[in-house]
């Protein structure tokens, strides 16, 4: 690793950690299902950014890019299915509060 690459890694790491903390705090503090999904998205952004930064630092950009592309596509489907589930929960319970879906039957 060249000196510049190490510098870039040291700049990115604190911000990636901050982004992860924002996402985790958001998921833990909120009870709104849409907001929980937004928190998951923030955590995904941190993971995506860390993949690209490590790829750049280790001079292995093509591998990092291919992993990022796969991750983005999977992310879309996670969001689409989760959004569908949230809409169904809203239709059944009339709210998007996570406390309303605690009573499982079956």
């Amino acid at each position: 690793m060249s000196a510049t690459n190490v510098e870039i890694l040291n700049i990115f790491i604190p911000f990636i950690i901050l982004l992860l903390i924002i996402g985790f705090y958001y998921i833990l503090a909120t009870r709104n299902l849409v907001r929980i999904l937004l928190g998951v998205e923030i955590i995904t952004k941190a993971a995506l950014l860390s993949i690209i930064v490590v790829g750049y630092v280790t001079n292995n950009i093509p591998l990092a890019q291919s992993l990022a592309v796969i991750m983005i596509i999977i992310e879309v489907f996670v969001v689409a299915v989760a959004a569908g589930i949230i809409i169904q929960i809203y239709k059944r319970t009339g709210s998007i509060d996570a406390r309303n879906i605690r009573n499982l039957r079956g």
């Binding site: 911000f15 705090y25 690209i52 280790t58 990092a64």
Partner: protein, 161 residues
């Protein structure tokens, strides 16, 4: 280097806007801004293909999905909004404090990394990596696409009465 730092700061501000905005629509748009910042950082880190995917899918398609979902659920009344805003401030007041503490710790207490990694086998073409080296990942991706499609079809199917 300064541009990267500025983009990272805007990224954190946009992420905080997602958390602190009391309207869901504003939160979704702030998430799109976060995606745009990640895209610009990817361009700066010589990753144009991933950046284009991030911009078109995360900033475009996912924002559309979020806005559609928000339009399905009931909007908050104006009176409730003021009360919700007060509750939100109380709920998230600890977040900036935690962020400042963690930021100071990571910046000043933890020593900067000086590790050296071994050189990896170079493959310069992204398409070769994706189609030749990561075939198992693509198989998993195809399975997830199928599961996602079936999941959406099942979720939106009208129940039989």
């Amino acid at each position: 280097m300064n541009l990267i730092l500025a983009l990272l700061i805007i990224l954190i501000i946009a992420a905080l806007m997602v958390v602190f905005s009391s309207r869901l629509l504003l939160a979704a748009i702030s998430l799109a801004v976060t995606s745009i910042m990640v895209t610009l950082l990817m361009f700066k880190l010589n990753s144009p293909i991933a950046a284009v995917f991030e911009l078109s899918i995360c900033a475009g398609l996912i924002t559309v999905i979020f806005i559609t979902t928000i339009s399905f659920v009931k909007p908050v009344e104006q009176e409730d909004l003021v009360e919700t805003r007060k509750k939100r401030i109380k709920k998230y007041v600890a977040l900036p404090v935690i962020l400042v503490i963690v930021g100071v710790v990571t910046k000043f207490v933890i020593k900067p990394m000086t590790l050296s990694l071994p050189a990896v086998i170079q493959e310069t073409n992204v398409a070769n990596v994706l189609w030749n080296l990561r075939q198992v990942d693509l198989l998993g991706q195809a399975i997830i696409l199928l599961v996602g499609v079936f999941g959406i079809v099942v979720l939106f199917k009208e129940g039989q009465k």
